[in-house]
Symmetry: C2
Subunit: 328 residues, 2 copies
């Protein structure tokens, strides 16, 4: 399988992307097309994996920067690495793509080059959300800030397909992010979405709040992109605060210095579990192609995991499965 990788996307590109791609190619056997400036990518690649058939460079002269306005950037830079990736997939040269670049631009590129799946009004970014059992999926995590309630049912179908096919969860439980468990709770949009979700062909279990998500009462949580993004960042912020407070406590007492050294690997494991960036990125669901979007701060392990996820999503025919479910 050939996978197109945006070599120039992300805070630490192209170094960590090349490193992650090399590791992914070795571990998975996938053929990686590193898309970017040959002069920047070639030396990094040669240092790591000289003359291997598993990785090749596809020249892309331009780069969309992290802080560019998405729609404008895509229009102005048709030769950007991210755009070339999407075209390689559209032209069946690659089976799927990965980028850790500008998230908004990446969603725009996929939408423009591939189009939406028939029956899906808005594509959604699905984020792996850590929970007590492993991972669930939260969508939309930021692709659409203002959505009609009708989209919630589509999000639920797409999230269920992804959770089943890629995360391997049987009959994934779907919850609506809300501010109380009872029916009738929430704002106007949430109340309308509740009714639509109840009628949707998914395993809808009702309203859910933060603790339900993180303690794994549901596998798929749906909400609009504004709410999803706020929820996600709140989790990030609180995890950062807790780690800082715990570290400060451990430094305060002489008697805790030794145990704190012994605890370091345990804390690192907890941190790793909570860091969704490490889990292989977030699929953009609802477009006619497989695209996994990585966090801008992705390091090589996250890149390698994400490339593996692209392979899994392609292997499970995630686009076709969503197409079938929506057609039903």
């Amino acid at each position: 399988m050939k996978i197109a990788v945006d070599a120039m996307g992300g805070d630490h590109a192209p170094d960590v992307v090349v490193e992650g791609a090399v590791n992914a190619a070795e571990e998975t056997g996938h053929h990686v097309l590193l898309v970017g400036r040959t002069d920047a990518v070639r030396p990094l690649l040669d240092r790591r994996m000289p003359r291997s058939g598993k990785i090749e460079i596809v020249e892309a002269s331009d780069v969309i920067e992290m802080d560019e306005q998405p729609a404008q950037a895509v229009r102005r830079k048709p030769g950007a690495s991210m755009v070339i990736c999407a075209e390689l997939v559209r032209d069946d040269v690659a089976s799927g793509m990965f980028s850790a670049g500008n998230t908004g631009a990446c969603m725009a590129v996929c939408l423009l080059r591939w189009g939406r799946i028939r029956g899906i009004d808005r594509p959604a970014l699905a984020i792996p959300l850590p929970n007590l059992r492993g991972y669930g999926v939260l969508l939309d995590a930021g692709a659409n800030v203002d959505v009609p309630a009708a989209c919630f049912a589509q999000f639920a179908v797409m999230g269920s397909v992804y959770a089943h096919e890629v995360l391997g969860i049987q009959e994934p439980k779907v919850g609506l992010v809300n501010i109380g468990e009872e029916e009738g709770k929430g704002n106007e949009q949430a109340r309308a979405a509740f009714q639509l979700l109840r009628a949707a062909p998914v395993n809808f279990v009702g309203n859910v709040e933060g603790p339900d998500l993180f303690m794994a009462r549901v596998d798929v949580a749906v909400c609009d992109g504004f709410t999803g993004n706020v929820l996600l960042k709140a989790g990030e912020g609180l995890a950062e605060l807790m780690m800082t407070l715990i570290r400060a406590e451990l430094k305060q007492s002489f008697w805790l210095r030794l145990p704190s050294v012994a605890l370091r690997p345990a804390f690192a494991r907890v941190k790793g579990r909570l860091d969704y960036a490490e889990q292989g990125g977030a699929p953009l669901l609802g477009v006619n192609g497989v695209c996994i979007i990585g966090h801008g701060r992705s390091h090589s392990r996250a890149v390698a995991n994400a490339i593996r996820t692209v392979g899994e999503a392609v292997r499970h025919g995630i686009v076709e499965r969503i197409r079938d479910r929506v057609a039903d």
Copy 2:
């Protein structure tokens, strides 16, 4: 100062409320009016503080349950403990009130019995949000699920007054909860609110996301009640998950058992810092009276802290300060 306390409100009422009230009366010197069923409260009180002048019982024959529909409950139960508390404040018998009962009902009672401060369209529930330096305040945390953008500026003024007067923060920094730092980010409501906040008489520093809140980049965070409640519960959920994962890690290895015992007090302190329920409850701002609402699961320490907070809010004339600022 006399403070009315809803003896029947909360998951562990009346026991923990009586205990908290007794401790608060002893520590602060405030005179507490325990409002509730005399036959339920009297034996608990006699056991703890027999024949003291600092606490008296005010009979209220009815109780609004935690799961009752707020508006209906208030209409049907004019003799409920929560309603009597608000009337004691309205009639100047008490200076302020505390309840850990049904939050929606408590807000409805205060609104109905006291009315809104002139110039405030919607009262807001302000939650103390733990951060790196101590506490900030997040509002609205759930009083209004659908609000016009104009309310955001009012929330900012009320939050700033509270942060300054009660939390003692000079020129509190105000942020708008959003999904990106740049102006122009967010949904329609957030974009409109941004412009109004810029024109408001507060120290507005721009959009903020989870990490900004928890790492103390701002002191006052404003949003609609739906978003605020989702953010709060996400934090609660993630804290629960982290504590569970850390505990599981510590149990896994024999070598970590001993240090984990040594660490217990440190973890307890971190947990206490993050538990906003312990911090004395959430003020309902924008009504003509002081009301602190406690989490349903409040224990006696939280109740005592909340009663102390009522005293602080009254002492700093929080209602008058908000009235003055809005009149300007």
